[in-house]
């Protein structure tokens, strides 16, 4: 199902924002790949840079004030960082599709849903006639499980619920059968039932079209439903990445442990408080030179507050940026695993 051919290759990506307070380094050296047909989740709390990374891949960041200051992005053969406007416009919608977080504001309120869909189709299918495009659009609406597609075609977004608008977004994003779909927190603004429906829809679309997906989310449980691989981001860097199984069963970074612990579980002892990770992420105006998680880490060592940890390879495809995995920290690692319960 998952081939070896890479659809997206991101290497050492760095993105800055110029604000009235100074330069904010939102992404500080992020590297990952996505293969054809594969689903990758990028997980992290608000402000960790996952959304910025996703937007950088399609260069949809507002380019003042954002700036890509380093790294390479190769999307299906295109060098995104250095690409010109025309190349980028050709790539968007046909090689890569994107859906965003807030479906309520993601559609043009003064244009019918059908026209917005038709627009996406006609953009990359110059030979297609209007009638054909409309038929195809209606088909797409059915594919995303919107009932009464023909009727819905001429309605305005205000006549759709949040969940349905998100489906329309998905329809627009996959209209020209892109190789990669980037979903930036697609379910955050929706209720739990709708969340499940959307995720289910994404899953079926993915397998039907052999499409790669990058799913951005702050919710680990959302990630677990759908994906093959997971990357955990914190303070603009990837702190751990690997196969879903590796992350969920043998997580190696204290932050990942914290994320997993903070998921409320039905079998938990209800009298105890919910687990949280105390403190907040560092300011990216002057990012720390040491491990960014150190101030909040229960297992912080001296070296952690002095230098950045490199990526340690723990197994095939599983890397973790934490000093605990340095050979000299073997004892500390053992203690940490026992103390946290992630053995």
């Amino acid at each position: 199902m998952v081939s070896d051919k890479k659809v997206l290759n991101v290497e050492d990506l760095r993105v800055c924002f110029d604000t009235y307070r100074g330069e904010v380094q939102a992404v500080r050296g992020v590297s990952f790949d996505v293969c054809e047909g594969e689903a990758l989740a990028i997980v992290g709390e608000s402000g960790c840079g996952k959304s910025v990374t996703a937007h950088a891949v399609t260069r949809l960041l507002p380019e003042p004030p954002a700036r890509i200051t380093g790294g390479r992005i190769n999307l299906d053969g295109t060098d995104v960082v250095n690409a010109g406007k025309k190349t980028l416009q050709g790539m968007r919608g046909s090689a890569v599709g994107m859906i965003f977080q807030d479906p309520m504001t993601s559609l043009n309120p003064t244009m019918t849903v059908g026209k917005q869909l038709r627009e996406a189709l006609l953009r990359h299918n110059p030979g297609m006639g209007l009638k054909d495009a409309e038929l195809k659009a209606a088909e797409l609406l059915s594919e995303v499980r919107i009932p009464n597609a023909a009727q819905r075609f001429s309605q305005y977004p205000s006549q759709f619920s949040g969940g349905m608008r998100q489906r329309v977004m998905i329809a627009i994003a996959i209209a020209c059968k892109p190789k990669l779909l980037i979903a930036d927190e697609p379910t955050t603004a929706l209720d739990v039932t709708t969340q499940a429906q959307i995720l289910d829809l994404l899953k079926s679309i993915q397998s039907a079209n052999r499409m790669a997906i990058i799913l951005i989310t702050h919710d680990l449980s959302v990630a677990s439903c759908l994906v093959d691989r997971v990357a955990v981001m914190y303070a603009g860097q990837i702190v751990e990445k690997g196969l879903a199984k590796q992350i969920f069963q043998t997580a190696a970074h204290p932050y990942t442990w914290g994320l997993m612990d903070s998921l409320p579980r039905p079998d938990q002892d209800k009298s105890r408080d919910l687990n949280t990770i105390a403190g907040s992420p560092p300011s990216l105006l002057s990012p720390p030179a040491e491990c960014s998680f150190a101030p909040r880490c229960h297992f912080c060592m001296q070296v952690c507050s002095q230098r950045q940890p490199p990526g340690f390879e723990l197994g095939p495809g599983h890397t973790c940026s934490c000093w605990l995995h340095h050979p000299m920290a073997a004892d500390m690692l053992k203690q940490a695993k026992e103390a946290s319960g992630h053995v």
Partner: protein, 312 residues
């Protein structure tokens, strides 16, 4: 398996536990500034806003001080020295066609125009705030009815009513202020009503959330400053319209009457004699435009600064 370029520098002691879980550094996280501190900081860094505020101070101070120290009065005529131009002896801005000193007159006129504008705007605020406040607070059908009345008043062309009122009342500073306020309060009423509705909504939301902080504190800390900000912006932007109305009225003869002078009367006097003595129009024009420009730009800058979206 690891690629540590500085392997020698890593000594085993480094892998001992840190002394304590390092401080949960928060305070220096960049926020923690109160609304007013943040506003003040933004204000200082916005060049336009600073220039405008300095300009307001100059205009107000000048209009009070200069007419006192210039050595002439507003209506003092000197028929031997009529129509002098700029930098004439004894008259920095020259004189008009009956020898009155333009320097004195223009600063005095600025004062009158500003007085009219400030008063009109403040009365608008009072009436509008009370009306809008009551409407928003009471809610329901009363609110709907009150707002419908506002809609109708807004539907009637305001300048025409002002002109009519000036025909009915004798033109003068007080009557101009009254005439303007009679129809000018509607904008403020709508604004205040909108804010009151928002406040009411938040109160209920807060109460239902049962958070520790009392609703009053949150209203005072977040919502009230926001409301004040919006009101200040509206006031600042209404001042130019009041000045303009006064100038317009003066031009058609319904404005401030002699022996007083305002920027409007000076400009309209100057406009008729323009062909022969341009400075008579130039001087009040510069002051009038500068005043209106100042408040417009200031209002814009304040609006940008107080825009909640810019605060994230």
């Amino acid at each position: 398996m690891m690629h540590d370029h500085d392997e020698n520098a890593l000594s085993p002691e480094l892998f001992a536990p840190a002394d304590s879980i390092q401080a949960l550094e928060d305070a220096a996280q960049g926020s923690g500034l109160s609304f007013w501190q943040d506003t003040a900081r933004r204000l200082r860094s916005n060049k336009t806003a600073c220039i405008c505020m300095a300009s307001v101070v100059i205009l107000v101070a000048g209009s009070i001080i200069f007419p006192q120290i210039s050595g002439y009065t507003v209506s003092e005529q000197d028929l031997l020295n009529i129509n002098l131009g700029f930098f004439s002896e004894g008259h920095l801005f020259g004189t008009d066609e009956i020898g009155r000193d333009m320097f004195t007159r223009v600063w005095y006129g600025t004062g009158i125009s500003l007085t009219i504008a400030f008063s009109a705007v403040l009365i608008d605020l009072l009436i509008g705030a009370v009306y809008g406040g009551i409407s928003g607070y009471t809610g329901g059908r009363v609110d709907e009815m009150m707002m419908r009345i506002v809609d109708i008043i807004i539907g009637i062309p305001q300048l025409i009513i002002v002109i009519l009122l000036m025909v009915v009342m004798k033109p003068g500073i007080a009557t101009i202020i009254i005439a303007y306020s009679t129809v000018g309060w509607t904008g403020m009423a709508r604004l205040v009503r909108g804010q009151v509705l928002k406040l009411r909504g938040s109160e209920y939301v807060l109460a239902s959330r049962l958070l520790g902080a009392s609703p009053a504190r949150i209203i005072a800390r977040d919502l009230l400053p926001n409301t004040l900000g919006i009101i200040i912006v509206e006031l600042t932007l209404t001042i130019p319209s009041a000045i303009f109305t006064e100038a317009f009225l003066s031009y058609i003869g319904l404005g401030v009457q002699i022996p007083l002078a305002s920027l409007g009367t000076l400009a309209s006097d100057g406009a008729s004699g323009f062909l022969l003595h341009p400075h008579l129009l130039m001087v009040p024009t510069v002051f009038l435009s500068a005043t209106m420009l100042t408040f417009n730009l200031l209002g814009d800058a304040l609006r940008d600064i107080l825009d909640p979206r810019m605060r994230s």
